[in-house]
């Protein structure tokens, strides 16, 4: 069978098995904690108890299996450190995903809404909203996600602008952190960190080197490393099993493809 006539359903089958099998029967692979993940962990760890952080869910549902574990680990760490959380989003799908995640995790720990966390919801024009929050969060978001007046929530009365926040974290699958760096970080001086899909990490490393970003955590691997640092085994670690076997399957396919290619070339 030549490469041209090779049935690609076999490749699809191999990838399906490589992804599905470790999700059904976990392997339990352990990721070493990389310096980047440790830097993010230390950043959260160094914030004083009661500090306010903003989590912006700037991602689409399609990338949530990769970004969700990052967000999950960060929220768990923030709750463990007793940080107060303000959630928001500048992508409509990220709005519901972020709200769902925060509601689920805060219910588990009994974190009261309004005092320890609030959810601002969605604004369509992110640049204006980012700049607007530097002037007044209450003007930008008069009501929270569910329509409650912001001034009726104790945490909101405590936080008026970025100056009252210790950190802004953008959970993103695209270039949204760049706007956070330019408009919130550049203009108002708030510290920015980001949790990204793995493919976006290289885009933001220059900002990390120039200290415009305080920390970057990337993809399922980053989530798995963060979970290890937190001493838990969550969706990042489980997903990393599947990602590992999928990578190995693709490497194997590339090697087989090249062997077949060179073997075919030698034939007269």
């Amino acid at each position: 069978m030549s490469l041209a006539t090779f049935d690609r359903r076999i490749i699809f089958g191999v990838i399906f098995l490589a992804v599905a099998a470790p999700l059904i029967v976990p392997i339990g692979l352990v990721s070493e904690v990389s310096p980047g993940t440790q830097q993010f962990y230390d950043l959260i760890e160094q914030l004083p108890e009661g500090s306010v952080i903003m989590l912006s869910f700037d991602c689409e549902a399609s990338s949530w299996p990769e970004i969700g574990p990052v967000a999950d680990a960060l929220v768990r760490h923030a709750m463990r450190r007793r940080l107060k959380i303000i959630g928001t989003s500048f992508l409509s799908e990220g709005t519901a995903l972020g709200y769902d995640l925060l509601t689920r995790l805060t219910r588990q720990t009994g974190m009261p809404y309004g005092a320890d966390w609030i959810y601002l919801g969605f604004r369509p024009q992110y640049i204006a909203a980012m700049l607007g929050m530097g002037e007044s969060i209450q003007t930008e978001f008069p009501e929270d996600y569910t329509g409650r007046p912001l001034d009726s929530l104790p945490l909101s009365r405590q936080v008026r602008t970025y100056a009252d926040m210790a950190l802004v974290v953008s959970i993103a699958d695209d270039t949204m952190p760049q706007y956070w760096i330019e408009y919130a970080g550049g203009r108002y001086g708030v510290k920015i960190a980001t949790g990204l899909s793995a493919v976006m990490v290289t885009t933001f490393t220059p900002y990390l080197d120039s200290r415009q970003l305080a920390a970057v955590i990337g993809g399922l691997k980053g989530a798995a490393e963060y979970e290890r640092r937190l001493g838990i085994r969550g969706s990042g670690s489980r997903g990393m099993d599947a990602q590992s076997t999928a990578h190995l399957a693709i490497i194997l396919l590339v090697i087989v493809g090249n062997v077949a290619y060179f073997a075919g070339r030698k034939k007269p």
Binding site: L3, F6, R8, I11, F12, V14, I15, V19, L29, V30, S31, E32, S34, E60, A61, S62, S63, W64, P65, E93, A96, L97, Y99, D100, T103, R123, P124, Q125, I127, A128, A129, G132, E135, S136, T139, E140, Y145, T146, R187, V201, T202, T203, T205, P206, D209, K221, M240, Q243, S244, A246, H247, L248, A249, I250, I251, L253, V254, V256, G257, N258
Partner: protein
């Protein structure tokens, strides 16, 4: 007039916001705050307009004979259902809106996106060949990064994660940094051209 007024407005607002950024005067901050509010109103209006346009386009398609009308009818039904669920039942956890989002939209989008893994694997098998020195180099780097980014690479204990990290953090970031600086300079140039009225493509039309 139809073209000069928008050009004049863009130029005036562009330069006013530029000057405002470097001016600590209270009047400047007040104008800045008001402009930010206008931006939100304009974008929110654009969103509503987009919704109406979406509905109009699909209503037209539903009226036309052909197999595609079914999809347009479904798109309209989904729009009405989500609007009704959101406005009538709220958007909190446990609401119909969030249930539909979590159990219909999220799995659908994730399914479509996950198909990429199958196509990437198939394309890599068929097209990723060491046909030349450059292609062989690219192939080796790709394989090294792929294996260095998973725990198996760490377990081998031959410095694969460090090598993969170096490849991602040094050569790849060097190229990316160059691109970013280029984009930054290009953005400044385009912004100045728009503000000065040299760049007029955004106005539309043939001129």
């Amino acid at each position: 007039m139809r073209r000069s007024l928008p050009l004049l407005l863009v130029g005036a607002f562009g330069f006013a916001m530029l000057v405002q950024y470097f001016t600590p005067l209270p009047a400047g901050r007040a104008i800045y705050g008001r402009v930010l509010e206008w931006m939100q109103v304009i974008f929110a209006a654009g969103l509503v307009l987009g919704g109406f346009n979406y509905a109009r386009t699909h209503l037209r398609k539903v009226g036309r004979p052909g197999g595609d009308r079914v999809y347009s009818a479904l798109a309209l039904a989904a729009l009405i259902l989500m609007l009704a669920a959101g406005f009538m039942g709220g958007i909190e956890r446990g609401s119909l809106f969030l249930w539909l989002f979590d159990n219909v939209q999220v799995p659908l989008q994730q399914t479509v996106f996950s198909l990429l893994a199958f196509f990437v694997a198939s394309a890599a098998f068929r097209g990723f060949r060491a046909r030349s020195v450059e292609a062989a180099l690219l192939l080796c780097v790709a394989l090294l990064v792929m294996i260095g980014r998973i725990p198996v690479g760490e377990m081998m204990g031959i410095g694969l994660p460090e090598s993969a990290r170096w490849l991602v953090d040094v050569p790849a970031v060097a190229a990316k940094r160059g691109i970013l600086i280029g984009i930054g300079l290009g953005s400044v140039a385009v912004a100045l051209r728009v503000m000065l009225g040299i760049e007029r493509a955004w106005l539309g039309g043939s001129r």
